[in-house]
C-alpha cells in the first residue's frame, strides 16, 4: 500500500499516520461497534445481566485517543468501558466472557460490564461510581512521576462526572503537582436523562472548568477519529514533556439509551439521527476512500472480520466454563485469612485487535 499522507496540515500529527494505521484504527472501531451490537442482542436474550452501557457512537474517542498514546500508558474510565478495553488490546473473547459471567472473563465473571480490567494492556478498570475513577487516575499519574517513568495516564469521564466533588479535588491535585494526566471528558451531551445544560454550569464553555485550576484545555470533535487523534497526540506530547496536566472536552454522542433499559424520552429521534449522520466509522471510511488510501473492498473485509470477531466472542463466551463457586471467596484478600482463599488473575493470553503491531 502506498503510504500517501493525508493533505499536509501544518504540524498536524495525523499527517504522519499511514494508510495502514488508519485502516487498523477503522478496524478497531468496527470491532467495537459489532461487539456492542452482539452485546445488546445477548442482553435481550438475558445472557448478560445487571447494568450494561453501550459505547456505540463514541468509538472514535477511545480508538483515536488510545492510538495517540504510548503502548504502556495506563488508562482508566467509568462504566461505559467496553470500547476502551477493546481499543487498548483486550481480546473480544475475554470481554464477552466477562459479560456472560464466565471464568475466562477479564475479571473472571466477578466484575461484569462496568468493571473491565486488563493489567497486561494497562486498563485500570471501568468504575461504576460517577467520578470515582478521577482520583484513581491522579494516583496513577502520581506513581508515574514518583517512579520517574516517561508515561502519562488518561482518565476518561462523562459530562455528568463534571459535577462530582471528587472530580474537583482530582483536578486541583493534578494541577498543583503538575502531574502527567489527561482528563478526557467524553461529552455526549447527556448524563442518563439529563442534558448537560440542565445540570452543569458553563456547559457551553467547559474551558472555564479547566481554567479554575490553571489547567491546559483543548476541545475537539469526538465523531472524527483523526481530529481526536490530533488533539490527544498534541496533549499527550505536551503532558509527557512536563507541561502539566490537560483537560479535553471531546464532543461525542451515544446512539443507544443510557443503559439497556432507557426509553430515551429525553431526546428526539431527529437529534439522534442528526448525530448519526456524522458517524465516526462512516466519516473515516469516506476519508480513506476520498483520499485514495483504501478501497471499498478493503473496508468491507475489515467490517466482515469485525462481525466475525463479535460472533466468535459470543460463541467463545457461551462455551466458556462458568465461574466456579469457590471463586466467591477468592480475590477478597491478596493475603487471605479464615475462609478466604488466594486467587489467580484471569488467564488472558490472546491479543485483541487493538494491540500495537
Amino acid at each position: 500500500m502506498t503510504t500517501a499522507t493525508s493533505q499536509p496540515a501544518g504540524g498536524r500529527q495525523s499527517a504522519t499516520l499511514t494508510a495502514a494505521d488508519l485502516l487498523r484504527m477503522l478496524h478497531q472501531m468496527m470491532v467495537i461497534r459489532r461487539f456492542e451490537e452482539r452485546t445488546a442482542q445477548s442482553y435481550q436474550q438475558a445472557r448478560i445481566g445487571g447494568f450494561c452501557h453501550l459505547y456505540i457512537g463514541q468509538e472514535a474517542v477511545a480508538v483515536g485517543s488510545i492510538a495517540a498514546l504510548g503502548d504502556d500508558d495506563p488508562i482508566i474510565t467509568a462504566y461505559r468501558d467496553h470500547g476502551h478495553a477493546l481499543a487498548r488490546g483486550m481480546h473480544p473473547n475475554h470481554a464477552m466472557a466477562e459479560l456472560f459471567g464466565k471464568i475466562t472473563g477479564c475479571a473472571k465473571g466477578k466484575g461484569g460490564s462496568m468493571h473491565f480490567f486488563d493489567r497486561s494492556h494497562h486498563v485500570y478498570g471501568g468504575h461504576a461510581i460517577v467520578g470515582g475513577q478521577c482520583p484513581l487516575g491522579v494516583g496513577i499519574a502520581f506513581a508515574i512521576r514518583y517512579n520517574k517513568e516517561n508515561k502519562i495516564c488518561v482518565t476518561y469521564l462523562g459530562d455528568g462526572a463534571l459535577n462530582q466533588g471528587t472530580f474537583h479535588e482530582s483536578m486541583n491535585l493534578a494541577a498543583i503537582w503538575k502531574l502527567p494526566i489527561i482528563f478526557l471528558c467524553e461529552n455526549n451531551l447527556y448524563s442518563m436523562g439529563t442534558s448537560i445544560e440542565r445540570g452543569t454550569s458553563m456547559a457551553h464553555d467547559l474551558a472555564a472548568k479547566a481554567a479554575a485550576y490553571g489547567m491546559h484545555f483543548a476541545q475537539c470533535d469526538g465523531m472524527d477519529l483523526i481530529k481526536v487523534y490530533d488533539c490527544i497526540k498534541d496533549l499527550a506530547d505536551r503532558v509527557r514533556g512536563g507541561g502539566g496536566p490537560a483537560f479535553a472536552d471531546v464532543k461525542t454522542y451515544r446512539y443507544q439509551g443510557h443503559s439497556m433499559s432507557d426509553p430515551q424520552k429525553y431526546r428526539a429521534k431527529e437529534e439522534v439521527a442528526q448525530h448519526q449522520e456524522k458517524d465516526p466509522i462512516n466519516t473515516l471510511v469516506n476519508h480513506l476512500i476520498d483520499s485514495g488510501l483504501a478501497t471499498q473492498q478493503q473496508i468491507d473485509e475489515l467490517d466482515k472480520d469485525a462481525k466475525k470477531q463479535a460472533i466468535d466472542a459470543v460463541k467463545y463466551a457461551s462455551e466458556a466454563p462458568d465461574t466456579p463457586p469457590d471463586e466467591l471467596y477468592t480475590d477478597v484478600y491478596a493475603e487471605p485469612f479464615g475462609p478466604y482463599k488466594k486467587g489467580e488473575p484471569p488467564r488472558m493470553k490472546e491479543e485483541g485487535p487493538g494491540s500495537g503491531d
Binding site: 445481566g49 445487571g50 447494568f51 466477562e98 459471567g101 475479571a107 465473571g109 466477578k110 466484575g111 461484569g112 460490564s113 462496568m114 468493571h115 468504575h127 461504576a128 461510581i129 460517577v130 467520578g131 470515582g132 455528568g160 462526572a161 459535577n163 462530582q164 466533588g165 471528587t166 448524563s191 442518563m192 436523562g193 439529563t194 440542565r198 445540570g199 452543569t200 424520552k265 429525553y266 462458568d322 465461574t323 463457586p325 471463586e327 466467591l328 471467596y329 477478597v332 475462609p339 478466604y340
Partner: protein, 342 residues
C-alpha cells in the same frame, strides 16, 4: 383487593404528603423529567411542578447537604438516592450533619428530612453498586431508619417518615418495586396477607418503631428485614409442611428497634433465626442476636442463628451472587438447624 405495587405505594405516600404540606418537596437525580430512574416518581412533576419535584446534577454531597440546610430553615425535603450505593459520596452530610444538628445546636435546629432510595444487592450490579447500608448507618444516634417489605408498609412508613421531625433513612428495595402488581412473583402471598394499603386514607401512617408479626407461629421466631421478610415467609410455608410453625417478625424499623416484640416472640418459641441482607460482621443481625441473648438467654433452647450475606464483595456472576445473598433455602436450613431438625 386490587393490585397495588410497592412503587405506587411510595409515590402515593410522597404525593399525599406533598398535597398536605407545602413544605414537603422531592429532590434527586432523574426524579422529575425522567419520572424517576425506577419510575417511582412517575407523574409527580406534572402534578407539583419543577419547584417541588427537582432534578439534580450528579452531586449527592451537594443535594443531600442542601436538603439538610433547607430542613434547618423549615422545609421538609425528601432526598432520593437513585441507589444507597451512591450515598457514600455524601456520607459526611447524611451521618455527620443531619443526625447531630439538633444536638450540637443545643436543641435549636432539628432536621426533618427523609433520605430514600433502593438498598441491597441483587440484580448482578457488581461490587460497588450492591450496598446494604443497614449496619453502617443504624449505629448512628440522631437518625431513624425504616425498611419496608410490603406496599402497605412502604406507604404507611414513608408517610410517617415524612411527618417525622427527625432525619429518617428510608431503605427501599429495587427487587420489591413491582411487588403487589398482578403477575409478580409474590402476588398470591400479597393478596392472602392483605398487603395493599387502605385506599383513600390520607392519614394511614405506621408509627416508626412498631414491629409486625407477618406470620404468627409457635415453633421458631424468624426475624427478617426488608426483602428478607419474603425469604422468611416463603421458608415458613415450606417448613409448615415439615411441621415447623415459624413466627415471622418484621421489625419494619431498625432505629428505633421494637426489641420487645422480638423478645416476646422468642420467649414463646424458644428458638430464633435472624435474616439480614447485610454483611455479617457487626451487622443488625449481630445486634439483634446480642439483644436476644441478653434479654431471653434462659428462654433459648439453642443459639441464635444469623443468616447474612457472605462476607465477600458482591460478584457480578449470577450464580455466585445467589450463593452470596440470603435466600429462602438458607432460611429453611437455619430453622431446621436451630430447631434440631436438620
Amino acid at each position: 383487593m386490587h393490585s397495588f405495587p410497592y412503587r405506587q405505594a411510595l409515590r402515593e405516600a410522597m404525593s399525599e404528603e406533598m398535597r398536605r404540606d407545602e413544605r414537603v418537596f422531592l429532590m434527586g437525580e432523574e426524579v422529575a423529567e425522567y419520572n424517576g430512574a425506577y419510575k417511582v416518581s412517575q407523574g409527580m412533576l406534572d402534578e407539583f411542578g419543577s419547584r417541588r419535584v427537582v432534578d439534580t446534577p450528579i452531586s449527592e454531597s451537594g443535594f443531600a447537604g442542601l436538603g439538610v440546610g433547607a430542613a434547618m430553615y423549615g422545609l421538609r425535603p425528601i432526598i432520593e438516592f437513585m441507589s444507597w450505593s451512591f450515598c457514600l459520596v455524601a456520607a459526611d452530610q447524611i451521618i455527620n450533619n443531619a443526625p447531630k444538628m439538633l444536638y450540637m445546636s443545643g436543641g435549636q435546629f432539628n432536621v426533618p428530612i427523609v433520605f430514600r432510595g433502593n438498598n441491597g444487592a441483587g440484580g448482578q450490579l457488581g461490587s460497588t453498586h450492591s450496598w446494604a447500608v443497614e449496619a453502617m448507618f443504624s449505629s448512628v444516634p440522631g437518625l431513624k431508619m425504616a425498611i419496608p417489605a410490603t406496599p402497605r408498609d412502604a406507604k404507611g412508613l414513608l408517610k410517617a417518615a415524612i411527618r417525622d421531625d427527625d432525619p429518617v433513612f428510608f431503605l427501599e428495595s429495587e427487587r420489591l418495586l413491582g411487588m403487589g402488581a398482578r403477575g409478580e412473583k409474590d402476588f398470591s402471598r400479597y393478596l392472602k396477607r392483605n398487603w395493599a394499603p387502605p385506599q383513600d386514607d390520607e392519614d394511614f401512617v405506621i408509627r416508626l418503631g412498631q414491629a409486625e408479626i407477618k406470620k404468627p407461629g409457635n415453633d421458631c421466631t424468624v426475624v427478617a428485614l426488608g426483602r428478607a421478610v419474603h425469604f422468611a415467609l416463603e421458608a415458613a410455608e415450606q417448613l409448615e409442611t415439615e411441621g415447623i410453625d415459624c413466627e415471622v417478625i418484621d421489625p419494619r424499623t431498625v432505629r428505633p428497634l421494637d426489641v420487645d416484640a422480638i423478645i416476646n416472640s422468642v420467649r414463646k418459641t424458644n428458638y430464633c433465626v435472624v435474616v439480614d441482607q447485610s454483611w455479617p460482621f457487626a451487622s443488625v443481625a449481630s445486634e439483634i442476636a446480642a439483644l436476644v441473648y441478653e434479654q431471653a438467654l434462659d428462654d433459648l433452647d439453642n443459639q441464635v442463628i444469623r443468616v447474612n450475606s457472605d462476607d465477600v464483595p458482591a460478584p457480578y456472576n449470577r450464580a455466585l451472587e445467589q450463593q452470596m445473598l440470603p435466600n429462602t433455602r438458607k432460611v429453611i436450613e437455619a430453622v431446621r438447624a436451630v430447631t434440631y431438625n436438620a
